[in-house]
């Protein structure tokens, strides 16, 4: 490997690659948001819902965790979305990643909800709250705080999985890496560079989440370093 030539390739492609970073960021912010908005109600239904609703959620989670993302991407981009008049590859990427993530996120939230003592909901009901109020004012604020560590796993996996949407030519980091690598004949250097970009993005995201976790921590729970 010619080191100088490799460095040249990276420097010359920098603006183009940074453009890809923004596409990736857009993809995962959109997908995580969609996954969150769907994942929370899915979790609530799975814990508190009626039998039929719970079964449907279990089915949803099973399908979206069980079918490979690539299959879903093709299915949605070529099969389902065109019927709805949507032909944006980026949007297809956000939707598929988001729907998948919702399945995983719902299980993280469910774990957190189930770790709350039942007395919390009882106390809320005793104050005359409706179930919806009790869940949104008492259960979720506590459960969501407890979900942050697990949620950070989902973030870092989704970030890496987002590269899969290059198969429908969304111009995110990996798609651009491949085209630069082809043009400059520097596949190894470009792959390493892409790896560094992903690592930095992961690191920033995890830092932010860890900070959030500390800021919203509730007194009375155990903490780092205190046994």
């Amino acid at each position: 490997m010619n080191f100088e030539k490799a460095l040249r390739a990276i420097i010359d492609s920098l603006p183009y690659m940074l453009g890809g970073v923004w596409v990736t960021v857009g993809l995962i912010v959109g997908a995580l948001a969609l996954g969150f908005v769907l994942g929370v109600p899915l979790a609530v239904i799975q814990v508190y819902g009626r039998t039929l609703a719970r079964r449907l959620v279990v089915l949803y989670v099973w399908l979206f965790r069980g079918v490979p993302i690539l299959v879903l991407i093709f299915l949605f981009y070529f099969g389902i979305l065109p019927h709805l008049g949507l032909d944006s590859a980026f949007l297809a990427g956000v939707i598929v990643l988001g729907l998948t993530s919702a399945a995983y996120q719902s299980q993280i939230f469910r774990g957190a909800i189930q770790s709350l003592p039942a007395g919390q909901l009882k106390a809320a009901r005793a104050l005359g709250m409706t179930d919806t109020q009790a869940i949104s004012c008492i259960v979720l604020p506590q459960a969501l705080r407890l979900s942050i560590p697990g949620w950070s796993n989902e973030f870092s996996i989704l970030l890496k999985d987002s590269a899969l949407v290059m198969v429908i030519s969304v111009q995110e980091i990996m798609a651009r890496t491949r085209s630069v690598a082809g043009r400059t004949h520097e596949p190894v250097a470009m792959a390493l560079f892409a790896g560094v970009l992903f690592f930095i993005l992961t690191w920033i995201g995890l830092r932010l989440l860890r900070g959030l976790e500390r800021r919203v921590r509730i007194k009375g729970y155990s903490q780092e370093g205190s046994v």
Binding site: Q46, V47, Y48, R54, W62, R65, G66, V67, P68, V71, Y104, Q107, I108, R110, G111, A112, I113, Q114, S115, L116, P117, A118, G119, L121, V139, L146, S147, I148, P149, G150, S152, N153, E154, S156, I157, K160, G195, F198, F199, T202, W203, L206, R217, G220, Y221, S222, Q223, E224, G225, S226, V227
Partner: protein, 231 residues
């Protein structure tokens, strides 16, 4: 057309995949178990360990969550033999390298779920254990972890599902598990769609089996007094 597919799948695809299923199982089961065990230990260290050890464990988790699994597998299989310490080098076969790679990566994620579970334990539980004269080790082992692991279980299930799906990456370092076998069949028969569709069903079955096992575990371990699905 469906009949034609079924004939093709059952004669040309499934015999190969059935054999590969065993390879995949031998890959996934030990990786999941070692990953869970190491994840629990790492998670406990990351919350209750002494500060420098906590930092090291945090760095391990950042590194393994931050880099793609393919890269990690390449490292264990291709690069590790070149790292010589005092003339010795560790050479792993493809299967060992895959299990090592999967277990270490899985443990990094599991430890995060466990950490979340640990932080959800109220401090009164720890106080009560200490008041009985338990040392920190006993407190964590007998009072905190048993509760934290239960709470982390739904999240840990996610990781197991991911592990099953990502086990396909072992084919890249020459392990002939489900995906690798499907690829050879696709090449040999020139019918990639049928081959890959069939292997997707195999993964779905594996995931189903895992989800079912995890559900059973959750039900067995559930304790009264916490939120849970109504029956």
């Amino acid at each position: 057309m469906l009949e034609e597919y079924w004939l093709f799948a059952s004669e040309r695809v499934m015999p190969g995949l059935n054999a590969a299923l065993l390879v995949s199982a031998r890959l996934i089961v030990p990786s999941a178990l070692y990953g869970a065990l190491l994840g629990v230990i790492t998670g406990a260290i990351r919350v209750y360990g002494p500060k420098p050890v906590r930092r090291v464990a945090d760095a391990y988790v950042s590194l393994f969550r931050g880099t793609p699994l393919v890269v990690q597998l390449y490292f264990w299989y291709f690069a590790l033999p070149y790292i010589r310490v005092g003339g010795f080098a560790i050479v792993l076969d493809a299967m060992q390298a895959s299990i090592l790679g999967f277990a270490l990566c899985s443990a990094a994620y599991q430890s995060e779920y466990i950490r979340g579970g640990l932080l959800s334990i109220r401090s009164g539980q720890i106080k009560a254990a200490r008041a009985l004269g338990m040392n920190p080790m006993q407190t964590v082992l007998h009072v905190v972890l048993p509760q934290a692991v239960r709470r982390a279980l739904p999240g840990c299930g996610n990781e197991v599902v991911y592990l099953i799906k990502y086990s396909s990456l072992a084919s890249i370092i020459t392990v002939n598990e489900l995906t690798g076998t499907a690829r050879s069949i696709a090449k040999a028969t020139f019918r990639p769609i049928e081959a890959y569709a069939t292997v997707a069903v195999y993964y779905l079955l594996l995931v189903t089996l895992a989800v079912w096992l995890l559900r059973w575990l959750e039900d067995r371990m559930s304790i009264p007094g916490f939120e849970r699905p109504r029956d």
